[in-house]
Symmetry: D2
Amino acid sequence: MKKRSRFLETPIVPFAVEAGLSADEILTRMERISFQGRNLATAHRVWQKMLADDVTIFLGMAGALSAGGLRLIVAHLIAHRYIDCLVSTGANLYHDLHETRGQAHYLGSPRADDAALAADRVDRVYDTYASEHEFIANDIWISEFVETLEQRPYTTRELLYLLGGHLWQTTGRDGILTAAYRAQVPIFCPAIADSSIGMGISQARQKMPHAGQIDVIGDIVESANLVIHRPRTASIVLGGGTPKNFINQASVQAEFYNPAVGGHQYAVQIVTDVPHFGGASGSTLEEAQSWGKLSTTSAKVTVNADATIALPLLVSALAQTANDALRSRVHPTFTLSSRVMTIDGRAVRSDRFEDASDPAN
Amino acid sequence: MKKRSRFLETPIVPFAVEAGLSADEILTRMERISFQGRNLATAHRVWQKMLADDVTIFLGMAGALSAGGLRLIVAHLIAHRYIDCLVSTGANLYHDLHETRGQAHYLGSPRADDAALAADRVDRVYDTYASEHEFIANDIWISEFVETLEQRPYTTRELLYLLGGHLWQTTGRDGILTAAYRAQVPIFCPAIADSSIGMGISQARQKMPHAGQIDVIGDIVESANLVIHRPRTASIVLGGGTPKNFINQASVQAEFYNPAVGGHQYAVQIVTDVPHFGGASGSTLEEAQSWGKLSTTSAKVTVNADATIALPLLVSALAQTANDALRSRVHPTFTLSSRVMTIDGRAVRSDRFEDASDPAN
Amino acid sequence: MKKRSRFLETPIVPFAVEAGLSADEILTRMERISFQGRNLATAHRVWQKMLADDVTIFLGMAGALSAGGLRLIVAHLIAHRYIDCLVSTGANLYHDLHETRGQAHYLGSPRADDAALAADRVDRVYDTYASEHEFIANDIWISEFVETLEQRPYTTRELLYLLGGHLWQTTGRDGILTAAYRAQVPIFCPAIADSSIGMGISQARQKMPHAGQIDVIGDIVESANLVIHRPRTASIVLGGGTPKNFINQASVQAEFYNPAVGGHQYAVQIVTDVPHFGGASGSTLEEAQSWGKLSTTSAKVTVNADATIALPLLVSALAQTANDALRSRVHPTFTLSSRVMTIDGRAVRSDRFEDASDPAN
Amino acid sequence: MKKRSRFLETPIVPFAVEAGLSADEILTRMERISFQGRNLATAHRVWQKMLADDVTIFLGMAGALSAGGLRLIVAHLIAHRYIDCLVSTGANLYHDLHETRGQAHYLGSPRADDAALAADRVDRVYDTYASEHEFIANDIWISEFVETLEQRPYTTRELLYLLGGHLWQTTGRDGILTAAYRAQVPIFCPAIADSSIGMGISQARQKMPHAGQIDVIGDIVESANLVIHRPRTASIVLGGGTPKNFINQASVQAEFYNPAVGGHQYAVQIVTDVPHFGGASGSTLEEAQSWGKLSTTSAKVTVNADATIALPLLVSALAQTANDALRSRVHPTFTLSSRVMTIDGRAVRSDRFEDASDPAN
């Protein structure tokens, strides 16, 4: 037999069953298996590395994760600063607000009789139900909040901070929006117009025609300025969608103004979409490197899995293994209560990109 | 043997091969086969029914369809009024603009060396390449256009109409934006902040801090007012994403103000996502009925297929079979050149929902 | 702007809509688009090249393609010698036999009430129904045929040839089994025990305990000997499954005995499975090269699509474009009527591999 | 607000993060979330119910699970009688044998240079490598074992028992084949001809032309007789493929001879394929009910997930929660060492179906 190939170096170690294993022990035993199990174990390691490094960690969140029971995981990640900035679809924030307001989603069936649900004013998200009446009440609650705002443009970051504050004062309950408010973690929602949050905002115009001016272009500028000020970043993406691209675009845009930006240093994505139809949600992290969204030397991993399986296991493990890293972590500090947010004491404008080569900066 | 079951009524008719079949003959022979082939044939019939009925037809477009070579199909659908209103991701409009400006995307490989591409400033979308230098030039072109606008909020509908006009005057070339401009077909882009169109707009702020005010909430109001004025609608969705939800939300929102709205009367979606992870892109049309997005009596079909296979075949068939319907079609007429668009001569406001029960309307 | 990158050579040419396009014109216009549309157009070209070259073309067939309305396409491919050897799941042959015997599958719904179907003895394959009573009659018909055979082992190749002949004599109808019988095209069914064909065979044992001896190991030997005798091969795979691996394994096994075998020269696979879960059905053609299943210089393409969409379009195009190639094609000639089949006049044994280095050969 | 709908009964309970959670605690907290996370938690409960009931539990196994590091989980399930009968693809048994013989699979990359791997004789399974030289040695080892057998037909069940015994005597190592040998748990491999096990067997014919007679039809009869003798069954399926159908077919076939058989009483499937392309691997458990494969009153769940993520978590939880059930479990007892196996002391023939209505039985 010829000499062993250089490709045959590190043996697979089959997963050994044992009673009483904790989440991190399970993931540790998955590190030397194959396919998506190995990738999930790698995600655990990459996230640990992010926490030990001096990087701003973005979390992107698409898919019906709040309705689907993961909102308190995200709230936990925010409160304990596993992440520094959330980019979300409007729906995830809306369904979070729905529960924080004391209402619920319900166990349902994907094989429901949808005409019967429609007759009962019950809305279905795959195997999960909610009351349309309660949704309408949410919309009114949001529109009344919007009517209290000044008649000027708000970035989604500013608006969502204020909304989170109002929600906290009203309910005192834990959730994504309230956790972000309390932890001073910014939330961006680039596609806010495509959600029930947006619908609620729009209804404020019935009373005030100039209500609900959302400066989504300001969001682009602000998010890039975050990266210009603090060029080392990491990206964690659940489900793809607009948050995935928005996080990447912040890095690409920032690089025009600060050559120290070189794409994210770390990337984890947990997605169910596939690359071969060309859509952004399923696009590979390698592809992201061609665009400069991701450093060509980054630690990175894609996990092809439903977040409702992967995230509970992954975050349960981190809750055990990341304590030291979280305690000693160097993370950015934000203030979000005024129109111009700050990062580590520096203003983050929404009306122009900071130019790192400008001596005034 | 017992009597034939009521479930065994219409036999499958196997596809018979023949030389020289045209697209519509192929689809006709697929009507009595199974699985997604049958669904694609059904989509052909449902679209024909839409054209024969008096409905406003929305087309949603997500995924890299413009970069991937389908933009002239969409332009054809607009120019010949197979559809009445386009809802698109920003990327599809950007890649359309890229080619209309005389540039190209290029054949590439999904197994490329992305570090080599990055070094060459080549951006990859699965198996398709483009020049980052040309993209930067597009961004500048867009920002210079934005600098010519008034310093006031624009809905994406108004902005994209003006952008299409500028593009047509500059290039005289066919594409999605220019076709929509010429045919007076509105385009909405609810997630414009999450795209290179948005990035181009944002760069105008370097010269003019108040440039690029996009009224995405106005888009919600305008799109709902379209449906309030003309309550019978149809939805065609390619790829899901924000356009899919935006089209549905217009119907849901409209129903609050006009009880004659009862969800889309027809729906075709060509998607690659699946329902069982709970995301909106893959959600079924049955689920949409629970929300009232779709009438419980609608003609509808989901085709689980890549649009780059399904759409060329489907539209080639329609080009043959839909001529009469297109000629006699009753479609809405828009004017888009001013801040307030009109549909069939009636103003479509972006600052409040029209109330159909209001005697003033 | 710097010099054009070497990666930017061949522009995408958007698909241009036109009435009356035939299948091959549609595929020609899809050659310079992206994603799976381009891949399907490439499959058309690769298959044309196979036909123009001197190769034995294997077709693998998994998934419910016969029940789903594609069986006459496969029969056409056999009769006109687009292919030389079929490897199929048992189910596809069974559902072919079902229709050739004059029965039907029926249009159904994927959202059926399966308890009601069960009560009516109707079996469902996604959106397609069939009568369990008729299936039971098929099983008896098969078992009665098996009772007429000699009490000795039969390869599936021999058995299916005889079954096809019996079916042709009984019905005179076109189908996969009868076309293969008439065209002297061998069929292998490596997983025959996992199908209703196998169930039918097994029932012959109630009368004859030694009936139904199937020499599936002989199938391995025979299929490898085909390749040992005629080392240049091509592989077309629909749906993956056991046929995909069996075709590859024939090549790998043959290479031990004839160094002129170097993996398939051409490969087309139309699959819906993905690579990243590690299963064979979704595995890439690149991966196949590591095993030597496929030549590293082969022309090859994977099309990620449902065969019920891809195959009607692809074969309709070939029916137009492949006529000359089919007429002048150099294809292997088989005799299948005796226990030892022949290829181009040479015996193909099932009881030992031919050794190409053996001077007796 | 109208009275609460009957559809809104059981609220979603968001997953609450906590350090140190064990596998079963994680799954318990996933029971009231949504999508595939909920389904995995349900699979845990359904499996527990199987163990508490008096049913024969079949496990089907397809996909590269042995190469991918799950073989010791399956060995554990066999040794501790979480299952009673394994149905596997040949590849999973082959890769198990490979490691039990003291060799390894290796960590690799899905983006490998496959031509370089081929040059080094390294075979790739997605992200996992193995030595072709070692595989050839396995094939010889298998063929030498086959040469020691009698020249008569063997069911795969008998052959694999003997192979497991030979492997255990040779190596004394734990694995699927050796665990099944030691625990007297039968293994069926209906598609043995489509695997390297089959290739190894076939090579025995070079020395002994009548070696390797595999009675796959006998497997059908034996597996149905198991169910005829013990009509209450459960099915656990990993990955679909031939094992999924073989397990179902045993039940369908058995029902002809014993009306007490009414389809499986419990079913869990962990699959990545989807239903809408019509293939058996992705087919729903509801569809299985139409065929009578599954009782219409069965407890059942489909988990759409990669088994390399789902199985480690699920079996780790069962290792904690199933101890009592395993201890008191009423499971069938087999003897496998002779040509005719027994179940609970009764002979299980392979040459005719037992007829439960026959007074001789």
